[in-house]
């Protein structure tokens, strides 16, 4: 490296490449070394051998660098906490939903209610809840001008494979209504369930199961 000179052919005819004194472009030599290491010219030509040795040396250093990094596992506990502190400070626009009877002025944010309902349906073995949208039916006017009461739920779930879906849906609906009533005091008018995936049944049956 001490007597390194700028390559004479750099950036002219070969763009970013450079020609070795033997006439081969450096990029091709490196490429050939990776793809056709038995190329006789590469072994015979001193310029190519030099170029390949440089690449080999770099790759050794890269391997050592990767190993060093693998050894020093980064602790992300503090970072994770910092991120979540900031996330919880962020205001997310959300919709309030009514709780209790029409005369009461009690509301819950959709995201909060959805979290309670998801947790409840996940007590059914093998069920995983995804999207859970809630809609206040009082806001919708029906065709004859009458108003429905309560909240409509639209829930996506991953269901365990090999279990009767109607039976499962019944259990999910039951748990959801129970949690809505007991934990939230929310009147549910309708529950739409969409099974978006079937997943292999977990080996352990530690979760809720049928009661």
């Amino acid at each position: 490296m001490t007597d390194r000179t700028d390559p004479p052919n750099d950036t002219s005819a070969h763009g970013d490449d450079e020609l070795l004194p033997c006439g081969r472009p450096l990029s091709q030599v490196w490429d050939d070394w990776e793809r056709h290491p038995d190329d006789t010219h590469l072994h015979a030509c001193p310029h190519c051998r030099d170029a390949v040795r440089g690449l080999d040396q770099l790759e050794t250093a890269v391997r050592d660098l990767r190993n060093e990094e693998a050894d020093s596992a980064l602790d992300t506990t503090t970072l994770t906490r910092r991120v979540m502190d900031l996330v919880r400070l962020e205001l997310r626009p959300g919709r309030p939903l009514p709780l209790g009877g029409p005369a009461e002025d009690l509301w819950v944010m959709e995201a909060v209610a959805a979290r309670v309902l998801r947790a409840a349906v996940e007590s059914v073995t093998g069920v995983r809840a995804g999207s859970c949208r809630l809609r206040d039916l009082r806001a919708d006017e029906t065709a004859d001008g009458a108003m429905d009461q309560g909240v409509a739920v639209c829930l996506d779930i991953h269901a365990p494979a090999g279990v009767s879906i109607p039976y499962l849906a019944e259990q999910v609906r039951e748990r959801l209504l129970e949690a809505a009533d007991r934990e939230l005091g929310m009147a549910i008018a309708a529950v739409d369930i969409r099974v978006t995936d079937l997943v292999p049944t977990p080996a352990d049956g530690q979760e809720g199961g049928a009661r």
Binding site: M84, E90, S131
Partner: protein
């Protein structure tokens, strides 16, 4: 409002049985609908890999942590638009890469690409005996990474340290695959020269 009954579980106290086996796609959907606890699981799950990436790209743990923090906040805000075209991991990997590119660009506003390859030989590389020491070589490699242009460094790190495909890098960095190949080549040339064994 009944929002008060929400449990502000810190990320490390999320019950493992309830979400530990829930896949990223479901958690991302929940997080998009405002479930912070679901997002906490995603952050916990992906922070180590993303921090590793950011530190490799930026060469500094503190800056890496800031970049990952910014990236996660940005992800949280953009989650409602995230439609699951890519996995959550890939999506955040791209966000972190972009964030790091911006940090690198702000750090060194004007290093012409060609100048990067023509940086004079550093004095530390003159002793061939030291090059045989792996630790020295790694240190030299780390220092040499600073000689690269922003795009060269990003492409080289994603390719050589993270093992990403040219297609993936092109997408993450926002340039063509040929441009990625050219930058990886230039980076290698610059690094081999800086490591000093050659010429």
């Amino acid at each position: 409002m009944a929002g008060a009954r929400r449990q502000t579980a810190s990320p490390d106290t999320v019950p493992p049985d309830s979400r530990g086996d829930t896949d990223d796609a479901l958690l991302a959907v929940r997080a998009a609908e405002g479930d912070e606890d679901a997002f906490a699981v995603l952050v916990q799950r992906h922070a180590p890999a993303l921090l590793g990436l950011a530190v490799r790209l930026l060469g500094s743990q503190a800056e890496g942590e800031d970049a990952v923090q910014d990236a996660f906040l940005s992800a949280w805000r953009r989650l409602p638009e995230f439609r699951g075209q890519a996995s959550f991991g890939t999506w955040t990997y791209r966000i972190v890469t972009n964030r790091c590119l911006n940090v690198l660009r702000a750090r060194r506003p004007a290093v012409p690409l060609e100048a990067a390859a023509d940086v004079p030989a550093a004095e530390y590389s003159t002793s061939p005996a030291r090059i045989t020491e792996a630790r020295d070589a790694v240190r030299e490699l780390r220092e040499a990474l600073d000689l690269l242009s922003v795009e060269q460094r990003a492409c080289w790190v994603l390719r050589e340290l993270d093992g990403q495909s040219y297609e993936f890098i092109a997408d993450a960095v926002g340039i063509s695959q040929d441009a990625v190949r050219a930058r990886v080549f230039r980076a290698r040339r610059c690094l081999t020269q800086a490591l000093g064994a050659w010429r």
